[in-house]
Amino acid sequence: MSDHVRVLTDEGIEGFRQYLQRLRAGAKEVAPSWLLTDTSTSAMMPSAPEIKKKVFSSRFDFGQHLSQMLSPLGRRSISHHHALWTWLSLYFFDELCPLQADGTRRVLEDAVYVVPARYNHQRYYRHIARTSWLTVSDHGGNAKVLLTGSERGSRSEIFEQIASRQGMLGNPTIVAGAFELYFDQANGRQKKGAGGKGAGSPRRLAAIVQQLELTYDLAACTTGQLLELLPKEFDRFKPEQAAA
């Protein structure tokens, strides 16, 4: 069954926030799905596409689903639409914050589910629905390196180091380079050691990229060139032909 995408009103967003607070206090409540359709808590969206609920195999799968479903809407028209992204979080809430065996939910900070009206990258990148959509829309399959291991709103070390810096998140060369370095394509997961903080780690990549950007315009480099510019400490993560 599909539904037309809507947006939450201020009242709807506040209702969702209060629900999150109650869950954190230990309440065992079903998601307030009535907020999604009630005319006081939600509103129609012009040219709204249809969207379907489904069980997602991964956060990347979720991002792909959103990217496909929302493709009729222009990127710019929805990128900062806080009422839309908050509606989508509530719509998929059972998937994003599932019920545990004891009837409670493991709720993360509000920023994971609710987008503030005023744009602030440090808040926006934490939003589970928007960032899943954004990374898949902008980086296609390379987004796997960011989203794998960042399920249900948690943030992996790779995700944190790259997505928290908009200059890196918006740079296809850097995301593609991180994919080559840290994603195990054969097994569909992060490479062993990619979550560390030492030599060759994502944290070091972020630091080295900042140094390289003093000399090189990395957006104008190819992924191979970026990998070649990286120091030896990254060799253990480089694909074999690049490390040679």
Partner: protein, 259 residues
């Protein structure tokens, strides 16, 4: 005394050749757009085919705009700063990138460029220490220096008419500018954080020399921090003699008592 130089080999674009203008959209909540007047002096000998990019940034948020080439500057159709954090000052960097060797090497750049203020637009020149209104919580003012961006005197936009009061009230101006000047001069002469070749550092050194009426010694090593401290205090003293904040405050007080 600090001594740092740019070792990247790239050429420095100067702010005299770059003017960024911010344009507020009709809706107060809408993101501003910008326009950029870019010029590349012939003596830099930049390849006309090198690509030009303008990047806008606020904290960790950033947007990038292609601006054609050195030989043919072409602004993009849309320059709305939608993806930048709101509520803080926008800075810009301009990069000239040589992509002829298939690797994007920055051959010239300028960073930390702030848009022209309305007063600067009207006067046609840049202030050495511009005033910028921003939300400072409970602080009244602060000096903000970030990377290669020139220092700005931030004043709290929550305090009504603070900018006007700063111009009108010598007591307030004296209290703020004395300490503000000390902070900037300390950054220029004592902190190791800022590159001596940065344009704003050069401009401030010219200011110090002009106010003191004497050149700054070219070489001052770490053991000569006392000398730097003396120069700072001497510059402040001469600046205060010029501005006469205390005398003006006394006169203003006497005038108000006689009314």
């Amino acid at each position: 005394m600090k001594k740092r130089i740019n070792s990247t080999g790239r050429k420095q674009l100067t702010r005299e050749n770059i003017a960024i203008h911010l344009t507020q959209q009709s809706s107060p909540n809408a993101a501003p757009a910008f326009s950029a007047d870019l010029g590349f002096p012939a003596h830099l000998k930049l390849d006309p085919s090198a690509n030009v990019y303008v990047e806008a940034y606020v904290r960790s948020s950033a947007m990038r705009f292609p601006f054609g080439t050195v030989g043919l500057i072409r602004a993009p159709a849309e320059t709305v700063l939608t993806d930048l954090d709101r509520g803080a000052a926008v800075l810009f960097r301009v990069k000239v990138v040589d992509e002829s060797d298939e690797i994007g090497k920055i051959v010239a750049a300028a960073d930390g460029i702030r848009p022209l203020t309305d007063a600067e637009e009207a006067a046609g020149r840049r202030a050495l220490l511009p005033l910028v209104k921003t939300d400072l919580g409970e602080a009244v003012w602060r000096i903000h220096i970030h990377g290669s961006a020139p220092p700005v005197l931030q004043i709290n936009n929550r305090i009504p008419d603070l900018r006007e009061r700063l111009f009108e009230d010598p007591l307030l101006a004296g209290a703020i500018y004395t300490e503000a000047l000390r902070q900037v001069l300390t950054a220029v002469l004592l902190d190791n954080e800022f590159d001596d070749e940065m344009e704003w550092v050069i401009n401030w050194k010219k200011f110090i020399e002009e106010v003191r009426g004497a050149p700054i010694p070219v070489e001052m090593d770490d053991e000569e921090n006392n000398l730097a401290q003396e120069i700072i205090e001497e510059t402040i003293e001469k600046f205060l003699e010029r501005r006469q904040f205390a005398s003006k405050a006394i006169k203003a007080r006497e005038a108000s008592q006689n009314e």
